[in-house]
Each structure stands twice: as structure tokens, then as C-alpha cells.
Amino acid sequence: MSGELNIKEENLGDSIEVYLDGEVDIYTSQRLKDKLYGIIEKNQLDLRINCRDLSYIDSTGLGIFVGALKKAKQNGKSIYISELKENIKKLFMITGLDKLFIIEE
């Protein structure tokens, strides 16, 4: 139920797609951080974060996205964020993070 998060990962060849399913909150965010940072360190590829099934994220989670982006940029790579639900897209706009990431429909 609340606070659950499933993370799936798929290698698309030229990028890695990560599917977030559930809620990223202060309790589940450490797992997200380990996962994203791990992927970025292991692969010299762009990262695509699919948020189709992401129902909730807070500033802890957004901060991890920002941290991951910094790491990716050090490798000259980008992070694409796709299929954001309206309530979460709103958080990206509020915080100005929509200008930092490449947001896709």
C-alpha cells in the first residue's frame, strides 16, 4: 500500500530506462538513490525515467533526481523524464526542475 515502490530497469541499447511504480517518499527514496546512482556509475548511457506508474514523489525524491542528473552530466549524459502524472509534473514546475530535465510526454 502506501509507501511502496517498485523499480524496474531495462537496457535499450543507447539508454537505460527505469520504470518507477508506486510512491517515492522519504522511506523508499534511499532505494531509488542507490538504484539510479548505481545505473549511472555502471553505464555510460542516457537515463530515461518512466513515471507512468509513479503516483507520489516528494522533495526527497526530486533531490535524488537532481543528484543523479549531476552525476550523469559528469559523464556527458542526460536524464529524460517521461509520462509524468499531472500532480507530479506540477511539482517539477513549482521547483523549476522542469528546466533542468528533459521532460517528455
Binding site: Y27, D58, G63, N87, T95
Partner: protein, 130 residues
């Protein structure tokens, strides 16, 4: 201004694993008050940001913090309190930037760093932005 108010209080341990309880409780309260589903979501996010910050800072003096929900016809006011007086001005730090912008944008009225006996208060009015 002097409308009858119902109070609900939730006392939670300083632990990240229980922030989801605050989210669920405030969702229920806001839904029951008749806020639309998007506004319920906004209030939930704002409340969680404060809880996150409180449990991240932690306390050596107090095991619990309290969330008071003051329910009136016009608004929901959420007040955070803790016996540990060192936990007061918890958002005046650079790493709280994201949380602060979220809280300010989603709630109608927020009091950070009050002189009073509480940590923070924030209010969402019914009918505004709906």
C-alpha cells in the same frame, strides 16, 4: 474568523517509516472536508514535506511530534508541534530549498519560523484555487 473548529491530532514517532501515516490521515481529513482530489493531493504533499524535514532533523529530547488539524467551514489549518524547542526554524537551510518552494506553492498561507510554541503552521482555504 470565529467559526466553530474541529480538531484532530496525530502524534507520530520521529521515524521516516511513519510519514506515510500522516499522508494518509491528512488525505482522509481533506477528502472528508470536501476538497477536490487535486487539492487533497497538494495538501498531502505539503504535509509530508514538513514531516520529512522533522524526522530528518530528529530530536534527542523528544520521541514524538504532533500534527494538529484544525477543520473549519473555510479552511484546513495544519499545525506542527514538538516539545523539543530546538526544532523550530527547520527550513532555513539551503538543502530545504525544494521543500520550501513546494510548500509555499501548494498551500495558501504558511508560517515558517514562528516565535510561538509550534514549528510551523499552514492553511488551505476551501473554495480558493478550486
Amino acid at each position: 474568523m470565529s467559526m466553530p473548529v474541529d480538531n484532530i491530532e496525530l502524534l507520530l514517532p520521529f521515524k521516516a517509516e511513519y510519514v506515510s501515516i500522516a499522508r494518509l490521515t491528512v488525505s482522509g481529513i481533506a477528502s472528508r472536508m470536501g476538497f477536490d482530489i487535486d487539492t487533497v493531493e497538494d495538501i498531502k504533499v505539503a504535509v509530508a514535506e514538513v514531516c520529512n524535514r522533522i524526522v530528518s532533523i530528529g530530536s534527542k529530547l523528544s520521541k514524538y511530534y504532533k500534527i494538529n488539524f484544525a477543520i473549519s467551514e473555510q479552511s484546513l489549518k495544519v499545525l506542527f508541534t514538538c516539545e523539543d524547542k530546538s526544532i523550530r526554524c527547520i527550513f532555513n537551510n539551503e538543502d530545504a530549498e525544494l521543500a520550501v518552494s513546494i510548500i509555499k506553492a501548494l498551500m495558501d498561507d504558511v508560517e515558517f519560523c514562528t516565535d510561538g510554541s509550534y514549528i510551523l503552521s499552514m492553511t488551505k482555504s476551501i473554495g480558493e484555487n478550486m
